[in-house]
Symmetry: C2
Subunit: 340 residues, 2 copies
DNA sequence: GCCTTACGGGATAGCGCTATCTTTACACCA
DNA sequence: TGGTGTAAAGATAGCGCTATCCCGTAAGGC
């Protein structure tokens, strides 16, 4: 129960030695028994495990990390914590890794390459067993840190075909293209793209451009990018701004549901009929989208599935297993609702 | 740049020994110089720091933790990651602690006491320097773990007056009471309370009950609690359900903005006029609330400020400084919009 | 019967740091 | 001049674990 007490140690910590003593084996046997490595007679394993359980023993991760030069930590770097999509992702990653006995260290890069590099340097000093990073937009230093660390790394949200690179995500650009093609199929011709600049949004922008160029309808002045982080507020103001500049637009593709929600609210307030006058589309399929007036047409992305599968892939990599599907495309789904 | 190379160590890691050698001092002097403890001549400190910088040395946290029996980690336990309010809180905590050189370990208790106890046991084995936990709703075991660990702990979101307990939050119950009193002041008499059960929501419920009892208008059948996690969807269905049971209600206080949004959307769809037929109020002041139809009356809570101040308080505690304000009430603000 | 091989178990030596004690150097006072 | 105090640096010994080497014992081969 209590961790101080019968041991005479300076730190008062309950150690493997105590467990070993109780099980009447040597420390190293206790170590092996608890880790399930090496050859230990089943009977001894049971005795050690019982002793550990009775004493409520928890191994010291620091000592373990120092001795083995491997921690049980997995570092996850996300661009922001302030985002429902990140929440879904982290929740799923946590769920998988924690049950497997790993600790999850979360780093928030705030969409900054410098910050990401700093965090990598920092977190890698923890000798994490694994690494999950968001996308591929990082500087050379950061790339080098990941590569030279030798720590298994899974990239999430985006896809890449580079050999030796593991990733779980979706083709953001294709998803963007799908949405624009859908708008085109509905007869829209003057389609704008509005985004809060972030790497994924820029990939969606590529898809947007490709689709419109293929249709011969691309007009670069119809792209509106903002450096501010996405929010409903921002969507509202970008929407107004865009309408002033381009009153003739018949559709707007927002890089992000938040922005689209702001636009929908503004449209409702200003009496602009959606989708009759203008179609509005978002991206990510946040829960609110099903309830807006009108409900939002968007692209569904399975953040939870990405998190889960990325964590599982990382587990396999950390165990040294062969991963025969290094690129997992979880796909996306066009959610057609009334707004477009 | 690279971490392998000139050192002859088995792990290939760049160690303090390398730094010491380069600065031509002993390891322990290098250690002291880098940590800024003890007496080291300024000239040597500079030499060591230069050497460390040139080698791009990053101390091994595991070794440090083992030797000093203190890590540089701070554990934060939150009830969910899937929530904008949690995002704000974590973002702020991260911002403060990371710049001070601490690592932030996030644990997600999923609103479960058992899970919290498990996580505490686990994370405490990391010898964190500090602990931030959400509220006070935990089992005896968990309470004991925190107390006996001797790790400085700050409680967030709720307040308590127990001596020796540090907390940063707001009086949830008072905030709930304030909202109900406001509704009463607007002439509402048949006020319901709808919540997704969580400890904070239950405190708000207390405030709700108190206010109504004081007004002699309390009716327990007007409380609707759901075990499911809060969502717009849930709010929508609870709203419909409640109206069937109590068609005469003139106001509903939702424990949570998400739920209120669902209600507003449903009301709009069903042609129920808000606030003429029924007033709707929420809690937390999420960004969406300013844009709903009609805009949502709610209670603003400063999650970011709570996170920031909690982190600062924890810093002070970890440094052994005296904290003369162990209970920080960041307050709340009644945001009056059209929905009530 | 001796040697090999395999297996179960233990002894030992660190992992990279820091707490603690000890030593050295030098100023100060009687 | 010798003793003493103190600052500055180093030597030493772990922190709690695991990698590695080593030693018995038993089974199997010739």
């Amino acid at each position: 129960m209590q961790r101080n007490g019968k041991t005479g140690r300076a730190t008062g910590r309950l150690t493997l030695k105590d467990v070993a003593a109780r099980a009447e084996v040597s420390v190293i046997t206790a170590s092996r028994a608890l880790r399930g490595v090496g050859r230990v007679a089943p009977e001894l394993v049971a005795r050690v495990k019982d002793a550990a359980a009775e004493l409520n023993y928890v191994p010291d991760p620091a000592a373990r990390a120092l001795a083995s030069s491997h921690s049980s930590a997995v570092t996850v770097l996300v661009p922001t914590l302030n985002n429902p999509a990140t929440g879904d992702l982290l929740e799923a990653i946590h769920a998988v890794l924690l049950t497997e006995g790993f600790q999850v260290l979360i780093g928030d890069t705030h969409y900054s390459r410098e910050q990401e590099e700093y965090l990598l340097r920092n977190y890698l000093s923890y000798r994490p067993r694994g690494l999950i990073v968001t996308g591929f937009d990082r500087n050379e230093e950061a790339r080098g840190l990941i590569a030279s660390s030798g720590v298994p790394c899974v990239h999430v949200l985006e896809l890449a075909n580079t050999p030796g690179v593991y990733c779980v995500g979706l083709n953001q650009s294709e998803a963007g293209r799908t949405m624009v093609n859908y708008l085109l199929s509905k007869g829209r011709r003057r389609i704008a793209f509005v985004a809060a600049v972030d790497p994924r949004a820029m990939l969606r922008a590529e898809g947007y451009r490709r689709a419109l160029k293929e249709a011969g309808l691309y007009d670069p002045t119809r792209e509106l990018l903002s450096a501010a982080p996405a929010s409903i507020q921002l969507g509202a103001s970008l929407f107004s701004e865009l309408l002033v500049r381009h009153p003739d637009l018949d559709a707007i593709f927002f890089s992000n549901d938040d922005l689209a929600h702001g636009a929908l609210f503004t449209a409702l307030k200003m009496g602009i009929r959606v989708p009759e006058q203008i179609s509005i589309a978002g991206f990510n399929n946040l829960q609110e989208g099903a309830f807006t007036i009108p409900p939002l047409t968007t692209i569904h992305t399975s953040r939870a599935e990405i998190g889960r599968r990325a964590a599982q892939m990382l587990l396999a990599l950390m165990r040294g297993e062969k991963v025969d599907e290094p690129v997992v495309d979880v796909g996306y789904e066009l959610i057609i609702r009334e707004s477009a």
